[in-house]
């Protein structure tokens, strides 16, 4: 567990169309992936992403629906612009933008989420742990972020 990259996974609650995908995420997500379910990617405030980075996330995944498929019509459009700009901004201050991955899922994308997460994890393993902005990681065991 300690050696696997820590991933914060923001999942729009609608984007996993196949019930088996959602069940996998809900029940069998690997321990190093921390799930945060949101009603829409439009709910994702850059504050959440920063909070994850400061908490020690080596990578951040945001998965949502394709344009025109947003349950709330335009949430994902707003998210795309804001979070795109934010990941570019984080890169500017040193948090590699390769560490922020957007996955826009379609109806046909059964099983894609597992593949994406696995691939993302291998990519993160090649990068060093992202510790330079991880300023809220507790120094002792049994602290807040377990």
């Amino acid at each position: 567990m300690d050696n696997r990259p820590k991933i914060a996974f923001f999942q729009c609650q609608w984007c996993l169309y196949a019930p088996e995908d959602q069940e996998w995420v809900d029940k069998r997500l690997p321990e190093n992936i921390h799930l945060i379910k949101v009603p829409c990617t439009g709910r994702i405030d850059p504050l959440f992403v920063l909070n994850a980075v400061q908490g020690g996330a080596d990578g951040v995944v945001i998965s949502g629906c394709l344009p025109e498929k947003c349950h709330f019509k335009e949430g994902n459009l707003a998210a795309r612009r804001q979070l795109d700009a934010f990941s570019s901004f984080l890169d500017y201050i040193g948090y590699d933008e390769a560490r922020v991955r957007f996955i826009w899922l379609d109806l046909q994308d059964r099983g894609r989420i597992q593949r994406e997460l696995t691939e993302f994890e291998s990519l993160l393993k090649k990068l060093n742990p992202a510790k330079s902005l991880a300023t809220r990681v507790p120094e002792t065991e049994g602290g807040a972020n377990d």
Partner: protein, 322 residues
Amino acid sequence: MTELEQKIRAEAARLLSEGLVDVVMAFRKEDAPLRPQPAFFTCVEDLENLIYNGLCANNLANYLTRYPDETRIGMLVRGCENRSVNALVVEKQHSRQNLYLIGVPCTGIIDWRKVVALTGEDILGYEETDSSLHVRTKRQSYQLPRRELLHASCQRCVHPNPLSADIVLGEALPEGDPALIRERVEAFEALTRAERTAYFKQEAERCIRCYACREACPMCYCEECFVDHNSPRWTESGTTPAGTHAWHIIRAFHQTGRCTSCGACERACPMDIQMTYLTDKLGKDMWDSYQFAAGMDAKSQPPFASFTLDDRKHFQAGGMHS
């Protein structure tokens, strides 16, 4: 009194005596050396205190959000202030109709700290010309080239001329070179990630959470700032690294598509923290991605408010950073 000051006073007097405005926002004589103050004139007699010079360091558009729309306001605007007014009008924070903008093309704001660094304390007085600042201290007199005293943002100013003033006093100035802002951002981008993080931390960690940058900024007008959210608390409250980093990252980010690069934030900061290298990066991204620059008119919606289905071509898995 300079000719320009006379013109400004005359225009302010006209607006007040003809009952065209309820208040004129400009600057008045300093109490502390080198520090003229924002001032709010409501009667003609007070106008003898109105001054205008290169030490007038605050963005007056900041005060607009304190007034209800019905108040008829005459205000001095330089290039950046005019754009801040536009940006506020776009965000419906004030309507243009009750504003009378007294435009003044600006040769740049002098950074008082640069003056003190060169002359020391004990400043008795100063005179400003087009090209220099003459400073008298208890010990001696100095003649300093104005260009070297300008605040950094003013050295990179692209739009010194007010874009949409109701009257313009003073000669129009040549527009500045946008490459200056862009090049500084690109120079920072060219550093390694480790260097960029180190610089960011070195600056942000001096922060004392006084929020002067926020209060001096015309675009920071939220009644409840994100730092005051406590259920849950997303950013640490104190001067820990987590807290100071989060403050600077998010405040800059909340300026995306809104910041006019006026530099009021840096001028207000008591700890000399650099911030415009962050907001200018976001401004550059907004230009590159959406051809948007804040405050250029009073109508165009900023990028985060104008997402469209046409953005769909960017919705590729992991492929947004084209």
